[in-house]
């Protein structure tokens, strides 16, 4: 058996092992841990990719080279095996039309497996080649780095210049952010120039003038030089600069956009979890009257932080001439705070008044609380002014009802948007109408009851603020004629992200069927999966910028290889190994990539802090958010850096391999 077939066979076995590891890990993680499905997928495929990489690395030693053909044959065989295994396993389809994946889909997956294994194996092989797979291992690269440095013209002076370039733009952005924030504060404080702001502005003027003067001096000194004395800059140095800038711009865009999208996601999550609990405990039946015995059991489950009962039904609300549909939620105001942020969303009145309506004052109630402080702007002020005025002028239906009866009407809490729509404020009487009325000889008649507005809530989510109304549990039970029944229990956990697994734990503790839980991610699946898809699409599109920048690195390195053929020949005639020559160019490309990445990350960080401090305005009616949110996530930044460095590394492979294969005499002929 010759070497090629040995390599092919070994590659095939290693690829199979990696594929099996993926399957095994996915199955095991899915059953034995509380990881989310995305995490399981990412982890298992990550392990598989690593397996391919290591396989390629090992094979480069066995085959003493890249062995693209042998690997390709093995990958093809692996793809075919994958296809048949997948057909046996019947994985679920990505499409909504069918349950199991179709043959076409399986074919695409197998092709991906084959291609992925080949590319990753080649990647691994390149690492093997780099440390000298053709002979004994040698991971050192001191003199290679020295030579790479001369190619990049990296000495103390240029390093200082680069450092300035890396630090100055983010510094300027940060400074601008600080100034903007201070300026804002100053404007609000009534137009007094703060000392800090004055100092910063002064510093900027001084530094700017100094830099401008310095540049002018340098220019005039350059002009006085003879043409021959001017330093000639080879094209490759300019190209190196452009490559660095390209990578920096790509990384910058990627980090900023991803941070903003994470900000949106975090904000959405925050708002959803402000109004909703982490999970709902429901029953596969209409009878949940034993909830009073279930509640303490659930509370005792480790990981559960709060439990509260709820009732949910659709109703119609009317006030005067205005009518709107709503979701009526019966809650227990005493425990609602343990599962959601409702008590902290109150902008006027009290949540507790829904069960003690006698406390609702008949005078005008002014807004208060932290949630009210978030609301700002002319629109809100106008609304408040109008509402309070109206409330003052028309103290609720005076004379129509007996004031004592009004006092005894049950309380209801409505959202800010609904209050706006219905023109109802705390103390106003609204009618709640349910279509599930009594049966009469003439057919079903809707049932309606008057409620008094006990509080106004502001969650920041337009949907919630315009749709949800809250009343007390006993009132809801009476209204819907449910007896002592409820719809379910709201749960809050210590760890939001383990909601699904903890929900399963609760159900298990209760003995399983007929109980079931639905966690917040499941309840808002559409929203979050849309957001995730958007983020992924964004990341892919922006990665293309980095990719293009890496093509810059590629062409720069090709130019450098052409420029340095003579040098490569000399080095080889002095005994430099192929791997060493390869190292020179790989190190070079990685240096370009690393400088660009560092620059981009710092710029991204500075821009995020700028957005945070400066607070870019958004139209709150469209986004339900007044400022552009950002969420600086270290893991995300690390991920971007890793992507950028990996792409830079890949960009170096072609030129570096080319350079390493030059023969020593190639460069010795030219003058």
């Amino acid at each position: 058996m010759n070497l090629r077939w040995r390599v092919t066979a070994a590659a095939f076995v290693l690829f199979l092992a990696a594929g099996a590891a993926q399957y095994g890990l996915a199955t095991w993680l899915g059953s034995a841990t509380t990881f989310s499905r995305d995490a399981v997928t990412a982890l298992s495929f990550g392990v598989e990719a690593l397996g391919f990489l290591v396989a390629g690395f090992l094979l480069s030693f066995l085959g003493r080279g890249y062995r693209p053909l042998a690997n390709a044959i093995a990958s093809l065989a692996f793809g075919i095996v994958t296809f048949f295994v997948l057909r046996q396993l019947k994985p679920p389809s990505f499409s909504y039309d069918r349950f199991f994946a179709s043959t076409g889909e399986l074919l695409v997956w197998s092709l991906c497996a084959a291609l992925g294994s080949w590319l990753l194996a080649m990647w691994g092989a390149s690492l093997g080649m780099l440390i000298g797979a053709a002979g004994h291992l040698d991971g050192r690269f001191q003199y290679e780095w020295g030579i790479a440095r001369t190619h990049l013209r990296l000495n103390r002076r240029t390093a200082t210049v680069i450092l300035l370039f890396v630090l100055i733009p983010p510094g300027v952005i940060l400074l601008l952010a600080q100034i903007a924030a201070d300026f804002d504060k100053m404007r609000r404080a009534g137009g007094h120039l703060t000392v800090r702001l004055a100092l910063m502005l002064g510093a900027i003027v001084v530094v700017g003038l100094a830099l401008a003067g310095r540049a002018l001096l340098a220019r005039s000194a350059l002009a006085r030089l003879q043409p021959g004395q001017r330093r000639k800059r080879p094209a490759t140095v300019v190209m190196t600069g452009i490559s660095i800038a390209g990578v920096a711009v790509g990384v910058w865009a990627l980090t900023v956009v991803l941070s903003v999208m994470s900000g949106f996601e975090a904000d959405l999550k925050h708002k959803i979890l402000g109004t909703n609990s982490h999970a709902l405990l429901l029953k596969f039946s209409n009878d949940f009257s034993e909830w009073k015995t279930v509640l303490p059991k659930v509370e005792a489950v480790p990981g559960v932080a709060g439990v509260s009962p709820f009732i949910l039904n659709e109703v119609i609300l009317s006030h005067g001439q205005t009518v709107t549909g709503a979701e009526l939620k019966g809650i227990d105001p005493a425990t609602a705070g343990a599962v959601s942020e409702l008590p902290r969303q109150v902008i006027a009145g009290e949540l507790g008044w829904i069960t003690s309506p006698q406390s609702i004052p008949s005078s005008v109630v002014e807004p208060h609380g932290d949630a009210a402080k978030q609301l700002e702007g002319p629109e809100y002020e106008q609304y408040l002014q109008d509402t309070l005025k109206r409330r003052q002028e028309h103290p609720e239906e005076k004379g129509k009802m007996d004031p004592e009866a009004v006092k005894n009407l049950p309380g209801v809490c409505i959202g800010k948007e609904m209050s706006h729509q219905l023109r109802a404020w705390v103390g106003d009487i609204v009618n709640v109408l349910t279509p599930l009325g009594e049966m009469t000889p003439t057919g079903p008649v809707p049932r309606s009851r008057p409620f008094r507005v006990a509080c106004i809530l502001y969650s920041g989510m337009y949907e919630y603020d315009s749709k949800f109304v809250y009343i007390g549990i006993p009132e809801a039970q009476r209204f819907f004629k449910m007896g002592d029944n409820i719809v379910g229990l709201e749960l809050k956990f210590n760890d939001v992200d383990a909601a699904r697994a903890l929900g399963r734990r609760v159900v298990t503790m209760l003995g399983g069927f007929p109980y079931r839980t639905k966690d917040w991610a499941e309840l808002n699946r559409n929203l979050f999966s849309a957001l995730k898809l958007e983020k992924l699409a964004m990341a892919i599109i922006l990665t293309f910028i980095v990719l293009v920048a890496c093509f810059n690195i590629l062409s720069t390195l090709i130019m450098l290889v052409l420029e340095k053929t003579k040098e490569i020949s000399i080095l080889k005639s002095m005994g430099a190994r192929d791997a060493s020559v390869m190292k020179i160019f790989v190190v070079e490309g990685l240096t370009i990539g690393a400088i660009g990445t560092g620059m981009g990350l710092l710029m991204g960080l500075a821009t995020c802090s700028f957005i945070e401090k400066f607070g870019l305005q958004l139209d709150p009616d469209v986004y339900y958010i007044s400022n552009l949110p950002v969420n600086v996530d270290g893991a995300q930044f690390a991920m971007v850096a890793a992507i950028s460095l990996c792409l830079s590394y890949l960009a170096t492979l072609y030129p570096a391999t080319k350079a390493s294969r030059l023969s020593p005499v190639d460069g010795l002929r030219e003058e």
Binding site: A134, Y143, I570, S573, M574, G575, A576, D578
Partner: protein, 226 residues
């Protein structure tokens, strides 16, 4: 005992489009350890090509090159590199120094390639530069050295790891009479002091005459010149 280096019926031809240019047509010769020879021949006859082939930089089209009786081109890439690094010293026709590095760094480069520490490589390079008489120009870059000085740096670089064979391609080519004489003198001295075998290509018949052994390349063959 086999010769240090032996060429057996070495052919080398280049293809220029359809046309094959035969440069070496079965050149054979042998050189013993410590022996010194000059190689002369008209321009374009293939002297540089011959040096590249026996210096393992360029494989012959046909024929063998033996070191200590072993075929050099049967070695793998890594062994070959190792061999070039430690056993052969090259001085090229046009002094090929690395322009970005100082004389000292240039001369230390083979040591660094051999993965010596920087200190050790530079110490050896300094020693060698002293032998070729350049201890006062250590920190000059090639652009700041004269042609003769550059050639001496190239010589120091070729000899820094103590090779057994020195291949010098017209080391005195673009130098004036006196400087060329000096370099030649240096070569002879080094050969006697360190026992390095050497092949020196030259166009200067007077210098060629003074070598213990004189070779001539004609019609792609190596012949002993009398």
């Amino acid at each position: 005992m086999p010769a240090l280096i032996e060429a057996r019926a070495v052919h080398k031809s280049y293809w220029l489009g359809e046309k094959e240019i035969h440069v070496l047509r079965g050149a054979s010769f042998a050189l013993n350890a410590g022996e010194m020879a000059s190689l002369v021949g008209p321009s374009g006859v293939g002297k540089s090509t011959f040096l590249h082939v026996i210096g393992t930089l360029d494989p012959p089209t046909r024929g063998e090159v033996l070191f200590d009786g072993l075929d050099a081109f049967c070695m793998g890439e890594e062994q070959l590199a190792q061999f070039r690094n430690t056993s052969i010293g090259f001085v090229f026709q046009f002094h090929y120094l690395l322009p970005e590095f100082t004389a000292l760094q240039n001369a230390a480069m083979p040591g660094l390639i051999h993965r010596m520490t920087r200190e050790k490589a530079e110490a050896q390079a300094r020693e060698m530069l002293e032998i070729v008489g350049l201890s006062h120009r250590l920190d000059h870059k090639p652009g700041e050295l004269s042609g003769g000085e550059q050639q001496r740096v190239a010589l120091a670089r070729a000899l820094v790891l103590g090779p057994r064979l020195l291949l010098a391609d017209e080391p005195t080519g673009n130098l004036d009479e006196a400087t060329g004489e000096g370099i030649h003198q240096l070569l002879v001295e080094l050969n006697q002091r360190l026992g390095i075998a050497a092949i020196v290509v030259t166009h200067n018949p007077r210098l060629a005459e003074r070598m213990p052994r004189r070779l001539r390349l004609t019609d792609g063959l190596v012949v002993e010149a009398q």
